[in-house]
Symmetry: C2
Subunit: 212 residues, 2 copies
């Protein structure tokens, strides 16, 4: 079995620790029991080598043999095709996993990322701009809540779709956005009890702390 | 060969016509020469049947035999696995197509959707909120521009990744966001000359016009 190399920042400031997107990939690799090592690139000054692997200057990316893949969603699906611990192998289970990975990132995170940026860039709660973004997030959560009230995991059983969705929702919860959505909070609690998540989170925290 | 059923709104207002997301799927189906029919659901009042296929009350979704799939990105990948006109079949070409579909939707559209919402929801150009979103879009375009200056298509040859990226960029271009990005504009011009795009766009316009 080949060894995967996961690349993330060497160091990040205190606040984003526990939410940097290599966590999604660590979690998936731990669930699948796939061997991997983690490498760091500078947080300040994204060089040509970084951009060759991740054209937007972000993290993470992963190497699988001579293939390098960026975008956490694409990496999750790539790993899903490599391990049935991460994705059902029947056509329906595969398409459900795929659609919910995209839903996590495109229907939910597309709304929550600009919302969370506002939290950190001098937003004012009384503006129409803030209201339109907050309404966008709440409308999406209102649709997600009944889905999660009816099932434990998005694609029939635990899969990469849950890793993607839980990681998106954890940040919303930290920022106080899930108070009206108990099924979303219970889903996070269910998922973050998994030993693979616990290890992935501890490993990310230790990785950044070691660079302080 | 099974027949696909693509579901979109029966009717939408004038403005979004030519940009409703069923266009991505029409384009892919036309490129692949896959047989399909298009069905409409009401634009106003998203019922239980709609939510059973698309839990966020959006469009499109597609039926492939007894499998129903939502999220335009997931549908594009599903079709990509069904036709090598839409996705290379070697491992590297597959992972490149997948990462660029996610990049189109998660690195680009994640920034451009809230930016375009602002265009329609009483934004004021002199606010820090507007500036932070506009900076987000421009930073992403600045990274994409050199990529597109060096290649015709994102994954080595035309693929679903280009369908996703072109559809995201077309809306930014319409809203005046690409003036400083000639390689992005040339990429759109190159892609929208393709007969499959021309037919897909004409078909979407005719579909909504028929419901006026």
């Amino acid at each position: 079995m080949s060894e995967f190399t996961l690349t993330t920042f060497q160091w990040v400031p205190e606040w984003p620790r526990g939410h940097v997107r290599d966590l999604r990939i660590r979690w998936a690799l731990e669930e699948a029991g796939l061997p991997y090592r983690v490498e760091g690139v500078p947080f300040e000054g994204r060089g040509a080598e970084h951009l060759a692997h991740q054209p937007f200057g972000q993290v993470p990316w992963i190497s699988d043999g001579d293939i390098s893949i960026f975008e956490s969603g694409a990496i999750l699906l790539h790993l899903g095709f490599r391990s049935d611990a991460l994705m059902p192998t029947d056509p329906r289970g595969r398409s459900e996993s795929m659609e919910w990975v995209f839903a996590a990132l495109n229907s939910m995170e597309m709304a929550t990322v600009p919302w969370s940026i506002f939290m950190y860039s001098g937003y004012r709660e009384d503006t129409p701009e803030w209201k339109s973004l907050n309404d966008f997030v709440m409308a999406r959560l209102k649709h997600l809540e009944p889905v999660l009230a009816k099932r434990d995991w998005l694609a029939g059983r635990f899969s990469v779709a849950d890793i993607a969705m839980v990681e998106v929702l954890r940040l919303v919860d930290r920022l106080g956005g899930l108070t009206a959505y108990p099924a979303c909070r219970e889903y996070i609690a269910r998922a973050t009890k998994r030993p693979a998540f616990v290890k992935a989170l501890a490993d990310q925290m230790a990785f950044f702390a070691a660079a302080d």
